[in-house]
Amino acid sequence: MSARIELAEVDKRFANGVDAVRALSVVIAPGQFVSLLGPSGCGKSTALRLIAGLERPSAGRVQVGAAPADERIEVMSYVFQEPTLMPWASVIDNVALPLRIEGTALRPARDRARQALAAVGLAGRASAYPAELSGGMKMRASIARALVTHPAVLLLDEPFAALDEITRQRLNDELLALWSEQAPTAVFVTHSVFEAVYLSQRVLVLSGQPGRLIADLPIALAYPRTPALRLQPQFMQHCRNVTEALECGQLATAETRP
């Protein structure tokens, strides 16, 4: 299950005058894994919130599946940079929350949550509280919560930015495995070139504020991708291309600034 995402000439200007996104037009095919890459403050998180329907565009149109994003006819999930777990609830109840909101009874919701936890390797910690977990485990629980509903769209906002490099690479692999199993349309915001190339079929590069699309680069590397890929020349070549696009964008932005 997956949904098509379309942004058509989307502008987002906040009430405080910040111009976050300008004239952004993108079509993301169902089941595609796309990364949004750009310097900090370039509006990538805003773009993600627009797709989630948590923000409304100032101009243009955001469509998820057959309807505008904020009508939410498709099941969407969101993974934040922080694990964003409820500290007062056990891990399993945190993961079961989206199902409970949907109206699933406690017992079946917990059963499905247990399966989702097993998929991220946290089966043994179901009754622990978030404060009792490490940073990587909390993020795994957060991903389990995002996938427990089998979403059509999976949105990830720099989910691994606060983790150490080893945990981050392991979680990248786990995320790819889960994505290929459930095949939702995935949009991954990051400021790491390597992470974007390693994960995605396509990297969208945004310029600095206001965020504009400056490059749309396909990553022609086969799945499943394994850690060995990071050392191969094609991988390096893609990273170089993305880095160049990123730098061109920053140059261009710097030139247009008064």
Partner: protein, 259 residues
């Protein structure tokens, strides 16, 4: 109880015992007369001799204190929830809450005693006025301090108002409510005692404040101390009870419970 925790509990007991011993020693060695400062042993003896009347008064004060605290809890939480739902309501009513809070209760108590026939009801109202504000303001802050990302998550999954309240806002507000309750518990006792002082010692149904007043009219200093001891013990009991409640409700997940 583990060994370090038992040791930690022992420290305040030892320091309290040491203070009482020092008090007793100073009174005896210096020969301070009991109408100026009675020794702790005399206070205990006086307490024992007047046990019947003091116990009845004590029960009355406890009744007022906990009655007011329950009212404050119910009223504070209800009003905070209403304010959390409507900013307009908050703007309209919050000034009244603040006015009640900042006006000293001794200044309002005589009026309430005039307006309300039953002394018990009047005392209850006074203690409530003093106790409810911390519950109100803390709960309101708590309801508004829910993690914005979790708020977004609720929106994303299409949670109803009730689901949001039950699964996000109420648990977020709980630590704040408990902190407010800790303050309100002490204030309810102060309100109950102060209002009774304002009411004066009269009638059959009276609390510890009336015993203190009576004793002071008759310059029975040891009896004043005996009643005062009961007031202090009540306050300490409320403090310990609210700490226990806090641990029971927040123990496993909130940083305050994991010390």
């Amino acid at each position: 109880m583990s060994r370090p925790r038992r040791a930690a509990a022992l420290v305040p007991a030892v320091s309290a015992a040491a203070a009482l011993l020092a008090w007793e020693a100073i009174v005896r060695l210096r020969g301070i007369p009991p109408y100026i400062l009675p020794a702790p042993s005399l206070v205990v003896q006086t307490l024992w001799n007047n046990l019947d009347s003091l116990l009845l008064s004590w029960l009355y004060t406890i009744k007022i204190t906990f009655g007011a605290l329950l009212l404050a809890l119910a009223g504070g939480v209800a009003l905070a929830s209403a304010f959390a739902l409507s900013r307009t309501l908050e703007r309209a009513l919050f000034p009244f809450a603040i006015a009640l809070q900042v006006t000293p209760i001794v200044a309002i108590a005589p009026l309430i005693l005039i307006y309300v026939d039953s002394t018990t009801a009047a005392l209850l109202i006074c203690a409530f006025i003093v106790a409810f504000f911390p519950v109100l303001s803390n709960t309101l802050i708590g309801l508004r301090s829910a993690d914005p990302n979790l708020q977004d998550l609720m929106t994303l999954y299409g949670a109803t108002r009730w689901q949001r309240l039950r699964w996000l806002l109420a648990p977020s507000a709980l630590p704040y409510l408990v902190a407010g309750l800790k303050i309100s518990g002490g204030l309810a006792l102060i309100g109950a005692v102060v209002a009774e002082f304002a009411a004066g010692a009269a009638g059959r149904e009276t609390g510890l404040a009336s015993r203190i007043l009576e004793a002071s009219f008759r310059t029975e200093i040891p009896k004043m101390y005996a009643a005062l001891t009961l007031v202090a013990l009540t306050g300490i009991g409320i403090y310990l009870a609210s700490n226990a409640l806090s641990r029971a409700l927040l123990g496993r997940w909130h940083p305050s419970g994991r010390s």
